[in-house]
Subunit: 456 residues, 2 copies
Amino acid sequence: MNQYNILLDPARMPDAWYNINPDMPVPMAPPLHPATLQPVGPEDLAPIFPMPLIEQEVSMQQYVSIPGEVMDAYRLYRPTPLRRALRFEKALGTPAKIYYKNESVSPSGSHKLNTAVAQAYFNKVSGINGLTTETGAGQWGTALSIACSMFNMSCDVYMVKVSFDQKPYRRSIMQTYGANVFASPTDRTDFGRRYRAEFPDTSGSLGIAITEAVEAAVTSGGALRYSLGSVLNHVLMHQTIIGQEAKLQLESIGEYPDMVIGCCGGGSNYAGTAWPFAHDKIKQGKNIDLIAVEPTACPTLTKGIYAYDFGDTGEMTPLLLQYTLGHKFVPPPLHSGGLRYHGVAAQVAHLTKLGVMRAVAYQQNTCFDAGVLFARCECILPAPESSHAIRAVMDEALKCKETGEAKTILFNLSGHGHFDMSAYEAYFSKKLEDYELDEEAIRKAEADIPKVPIPQ
Amino acid sequence: MNQYNILLDPARMPDAWYNINPDMPVPMAPPLHPATLQPVGPEDLAPIFPMPLIEQEVSMQQYVSIPGEVMDAYRLYRPTPLRRALRFEKALGTPAKIYYKNESVSPSGSHKLNTAVAQAYFNKVSGINGLTTETGAGQWGTALSIACSMFNMSCDVYMVKVSFDQKPYRRSIMQTYGANVFASPTDRTDFGRRYRAEFPDTSGSLGIAITEAVEAAVTSGGALRYSLGSVLNHVLMHQTIIGQEAKLQLESIGEYPDMVIGCCGGGSNYAGTAWPFAHDKIKQGKNIDLIAVEPTACPTLTKGIYAYDFGDTGEMTPLLLQYTLGHKFVPPPLHSGGLRYHGVAAQVAHLTKLGVMRAVAYQQNTCFDAGVLFARCECILPAPESSHAIRAVMDEALKCKETGEAKTILFNLSGHGHFDMSAYEAYFSKKLEDYELDEEAIRKAEADIPKVPIPQ
């Protein structure tokens, strides 16, 4: 049996998503309507999402079957390989066994396509022919562009201005798949125009871009819906194909992880990898360390406030109970665009609060150190986001070197860095700044967060 | 059995390369020493290549075993998937069945890594710790950078100036893997300095870059050797892992191709895919159409002259019997850098001359048309080189639509276009020029080619 290139027979690819909500040790607090502070109902969300996705968002069914059309799309690139990072282990001199799920082989270059095709499909069968969305690093926008192209839908992408400027080729690839791409804040929405008037030098943020994309959908007279690339329950659920495949692949070589590690912005690649193992921890008492890795520049889980807050800057979304740096927080322009989000998925926040998982934060330069070492060992050039996971893996593997423990570590290589070469250039020329959130920023965040009581 | 995502069990990955030389219907003419016009011997090549590769170059052994260290490197990304292009077929409305080998999943982004790791390995075990090479589009330079990084060797890449300028991120990725990258012609070699003095505005060419890289190796006092990414027998042989895997994958679903199609610059991805099937055509009389696709801007096989010519502009290589546009030919700056070569592999020339295979040529805009359609159907963004193959596949599939024949077409998707977004931008903004070689250029080529008799 080959122990370092573990492919899964396509016939064994899981045909259902894993929904962690029914397995939560304590039920999650519901999203609230900002005006009434009452739990939002399906009708509140209908102008934004199609009904099948709203149903998934609140579903208490443990497994949700994947439609044939989505399975067909998955088969274009799934099952993805699970690899053992033997050369990386050797370079570190660690007794740990490091396995990584390689989501970079997806045609969009990251895990994001797993939910993009699902969301496009459920919109299409609900009679919707166009989607709006935001993108940070561009991984999500690329994925949704591809998915819309597959289902013959229009795709309007509001791209965070700093990424739009840093990554012109990300814009081009989305256009190649037929999408319309705008630098956010734009002058296409009320909120965008108002924000630009107030902050003409803004570099944008995911929170701002989300507001614009939601506004564009709800003011489209029903023609368009909005699609979110992370954070929501149904998005995280679509990503569980990653962890489920990884579990089968590890099982096929008689392995089970001691740790599962993923980078965490909104939380979808992390949760998609970790939740099938969180299931085992919660339901079967498995001893497994689940670690989310975030940047010190946007340390939502490690320094954020546990509170009800908006998902967007313009206060258009429901209030979600989460860790947050405040919905008006604009993170510094670090090169991991996908990790520049003020909040985090409610599921991730909930399980962090309950101690089922934990989070660590790193400076970006130290993540590039790890990413370059990984590239030179394993050949794959990681996205800066994924390098955060690699940095944490490296540190855990080095701890094993000290203790002599041969732990089994699984991490998700969420995407490749082919569109992040400007970040690598900045790193090599020592122009990459490290950022650390100071106490004043936290106090400012606290002031911006609405005062809503947390249910006990 | 899944019919459109055909994975090969890693345990069944071929462990030998297929060498077509012993199976040639007529033996090939030998390479000649330019001074003596006598066949070159191993000692002539020793300053350039290590002995194991020289032995492979002239080997008459049908299968050459792949060393364990190279197999280990292959296992980082091989076996690559074989996919049925169902959505592309549907878009064309063709009864043809289109399968493609997806070499774009290699960490270097193309098939080039298959020979890069083999060449780095055989140099390393011969005591060489550094390689020089040229690169056009950057696919080859990236692959050799990765391979050298894996075997802890230095890597000096002479990159054709037009590509160096068009593709700054290709340069960065090579540097990330630790390579030194120079815009060719450089002032680091005698030939480069002389060429720049004569043609200060040159955009460079593969022929010039090869001369520089060879000169750098032979003047290194034995420290460095040179590595070529295509053209030579041993390079084409290393690529036969592609066609061998594809044959096993097709066999597993009861298929055998009526046509095998690949783009052709030097000829390595084409030959690597086609030769295992050329074997069946030559030895078993299989009726199979083998088609190489080249650009009209550099139509070596379709308009070139069958003659002994140099492999490089500076006349440092042996004379090879091939189709050539003259070794001083500088192709127009089309965006398929990997197809900008004045000559072609002697094996490809020989089998074209014998009628075992054939060639077609296309304008680049029509190839981008096909590549964009393919991307929107199959999600993968093809390299402009690979889009030449896709164009030919599309036309053959459309012929099937007319005749109603359900032919089985296999082609090689040699690489992705993630570092070619400037070309896509030019295409979408209608700034991409088409080029057609005129009669005057052919006459000029004829004048440049040395007058050496061809053995009958």
